[in-house]
């Protein structure tokens, strides 16, 4: 566990150094610098419109997350609770679509979006999430598979339709799965550089990871300010994680529902 923390300690500590201290190789100076330069954080915020990018990232990630989770849950429900022809095939197709490396489909996809006029906008970043994401569908389905059938059956006897079963019974049971999926969807969107890079055309709409790229280049050596920016970028994600954690803690007891 200590191993995990070490790079973070370095991150925090180094973000308070100036460049001279950054390059000191003396052990003590690397891990215990003095004096501390808190102005790095002010510089980071001024250098690039971090708050704007932060807002863009938050907004985009939330949208992607909500859409992806909901639509994926719908599809997963269909896959796990109904037995229709072709069910196995669909499932295999879904897994297969994760297996094909995205780099291979990136360019044809971009060309496709170009032809239908989706580029230079947020469309390619949001619309695909309307339709569920293979990874999330897979995960949620696995969770749903492990839920006992009697729940469905008792509800059906009571005359509930499929959607009610879905929203009132299955979905709440899946809270841990949904939380994890939501977290993943949010983070995936948050960390994504490539898609915002090629589909957004104006600096105003760039997201946080893109903004971080502006801190270094061949002539700039202000790594310490970049580190401060990275720390700032971490904060929202930690907050989201904390919120999600609380859902995880509750867990579900079947007995409660009865």
């Amino acid at each position: 566990m200590v191993l995990i923390i070490i790079p973070f300690i370095w991150l925090l500590v180094s973000s308070l150094k100036n460049m001279g201290q950054y390059y000191d190789t003396d052990f003590v100076k690397v891990w215990f610098p003095w004096p501390l330069h808190f102005e790095n954080y002010a510089k980071a915020l001024k250098f690039v419109p971090l708050f704007l990018y932060l807002w863009n990232s938050v907004w985009l990630a939330t949208a992607q997350m909500l859409l992806a989770v909901f639509s994926s849950a719908l599809v997963a429900y269909g896959l796990s609770r109904f037995e229709f022809r072709g069910r196995e095939t669909v499932f295999i197709l879904i897994i297969a679509s994760i297996m094909l490396p995205t780099q291979v489909t990136q360019i044809p996809l971009f060309m496709f979006y170009s032809k239908i006029g989706f580029v230079n906008s947020f469309k390619p970043l949001i619309i695909p999430h309307l339709f569920g994401a293979a990874y999330h569908i897979f995960l949620i389905r696995q969770f749903m598979m492990s839920l006992p059938r009697d729940l469905d059956e008792s509800a059906m006897i009571d005359g509930a339709n499929t959607f009610t079963i879905f929203s009132r019974i299955i979905l709440p049971q899946c809270k841990p799965a949904l939380m994890v999926t939501g977290l993943f969807a949010f983070l995936f969107s948050w960390k994504d550089i490539w898609n915002p890079l090629i589909y957004l055309s104006s600096n105003k709409f760039y997201t946080l990871p893109l903004g971080l790229l502006f801190f270094t280049g061949p002539t700039r050596v202000e790594y310490t300010v970049e580190l401060a920016a990275i720390v700032i970028a971490l904060i929202p994600t930690i907050i989201i994680y904390f919120i999600g954690q609380r859902y995880l803690e509750r867990g579900i007891n079947i007995a409660d529902l009865k």
């Binding site: 001279g20 090629i198 104006s202 600096n203 002539t219 700039r220």
Partner: protein, 420 residues
């Protein structure tokens, strides 16, 4: 129940439509270039200036740092939705020009005439046969930039800012400027862009890397002079005058463009674009021409502007380009490049619009005639080969002879397989 599901799906769609319509609006011409945050301000000012003189054109700029810029450029050109006005640096443009992936500007009004006004060496990257695919706008040249204080400390007189040093002279002061403490280097004499400098050294030694830059047929580096050039680079590493490859980019000694800023390197080879951090830090610096072997040679950059094939307003785009490469050249100099246009180059030499004293800019101006560009071929295999070889050379894993032989052997194979 079916209705409920469909309603939900519908709601999702409406929600999305609302988000999507809040997206960005379309504007007249888009312009993109690589630029750090400060450079971006200079380029934006340039665009603003053009807009004030041409109120019927609106320019929307997209500036990105160097690396992501090329990734995005590639994706958008391939995908068919690149910005209207594109910026290129010749070493990354060969593929696009040779495959005709840019808009052909030969027939645009004034294009041929404007190209004639450009420096000779800048024309090659934009031409494919008789067709013009871009317009040179600036030349990037590297000269020696040095930290005066470190020279003072070592008791070495400043290099002359007009006359280049010889290889031997450079070796001598190099050895004095690298300082070691307890066997570890704490200060290097210089930090060079090895992956670009090697060819300059080969040519300086009197040798040649390749027979022609466009449509080459033979690698010529495996000669006495070629090997001498490679060997000099290796010697600089062996004598610890320059850091070995592993330490020359993100370590304590910065990168070739930022080495002097760190305060731990006495000299670097960079262009005017690298001067502003030095000015910011109020460092006492000077410039000098690059050293010379039997002759002078210096790897530089030709920067040019092009129009994308999918551009819907080529005439408007062309007006912007025409201005930047013509009347606007003096304003263009504020961004740090030397003008590609002969007329304005002479003007710039006289008037020095750069914001640095004339004796600083002198070195850059004097290097321009000796600029070499490197091969312009539609494949990166050659670059991969030379990169790998120079990496091995400057980590002292292979000798200069082995390096030359490898480049010749594999290089000829690559050249033979290029399809034009």
């Amino acid at each position: 129940m079916k209705r409920r599901v469909l309603l939900t799906v519908l709601a999702l769609f409406i929600f999305t439509a609302m988000i999507v319509s809040a997206g960005p609006k379309v504007t007249t011409i888009t312009y993109t270039r690589w630029a750090g945050t400060e450079e971006a301000k200079d380029f934006q000012k340039l665009a603003d200036l053009f807009m004030s003189k041409n109120p019927d054109i609106k320019i929307v700029c997209d500036f990105l740092p160097w690396d992501p810029y090329w990734n995005k450029l590639q994706a958008t050109i391939i995908g068919g939705s690149a910005p209207d006005v594109l910026s290129f640096s010749h070493q990354n443009s060969a593929q696009y020009v040779s495959r005709g992936a840019l808009y052909d500007i030969t027939k645009l009004p004034g294009a041929k005439k404007l190209l004639d006004e450009m420096q000779e060496g800048t024309k090659t990257p934009v031409l494919l046969g008789n067709k013009i695919y871009g317009m040179p706008v600036g030349a990037g040249v590297r000269a020696m930039i040095y930290n005066k204080e470190l020279f003072d400390k070592a008791g070495i007189p400043y290099p002359d800012n007009k006359k280049p040093m010889t290889w031997d002279e450079f070796l001598k002061i190099g050895e004095k400027l690298t300082i070691k403490k307890d066997g570890k280097v704490v200060q290097y004499a210089a930090n060079f862009h090895k992956l670009e400098m090697w060819e300059s050294l080969v040519v300086q030694a009197g040798g040649k890397y390749i027979d022609y830059y466009t449509k080459p047929t033979k690698i010529l580096i495996n000669s006495k002079d070629g090997i001498a050039g490679l060997q000099y680079l290796r010697t600089l590493v062996e004598k610890q005058i320059i850091p070995p490859y592993e330490d020359s980019w993100e370590g304590a000694f910065g990168s070739p463009d930022s080495a002097v800023v760190t305060g731990k390197v006495a000299m670097m080879q960079a262009g005017p674009w690298a001067l502003s951090p030095l000015k910011e830090k109020k460092m006492n610096f000077g410039t000098a021409p690059l050293f010379m072997g039997k002759k002078r040679a210096n790897r530089g950059y030709v920067n040019f502007l092009a129009i994308s094939k999918n551009c819907k307003n080529p005439k408007a785009a062309w007006r912007f380009i025409e201005w930047m490469c013509g009347e606007g050249q003096m304003d263009f100099t504020k961004t740090g490049d030397l003008p590609a246009n002969k007329k304005y180059f002479e003007l710039a030499k006289k008037e020095n619009p750069y914001g640095y004293p004339a004796e600083i800019m002198e070195a850059f101006f004097s290097e321009l005639p000796y600029v070499i560009t490197g091969p312009m071929v539609p494949t990166n295999d050659l670059t991969t080969l030379t990169e790998q070889t120079v990496m091995d050379l400057t980590t002292l894993r292979i000798t200069a002879e082995q390096g030359a032989k490898r480049i010749e052997g594999q290089g000829n194979g690559i050249i033979a397989n290029i399809e034009y």
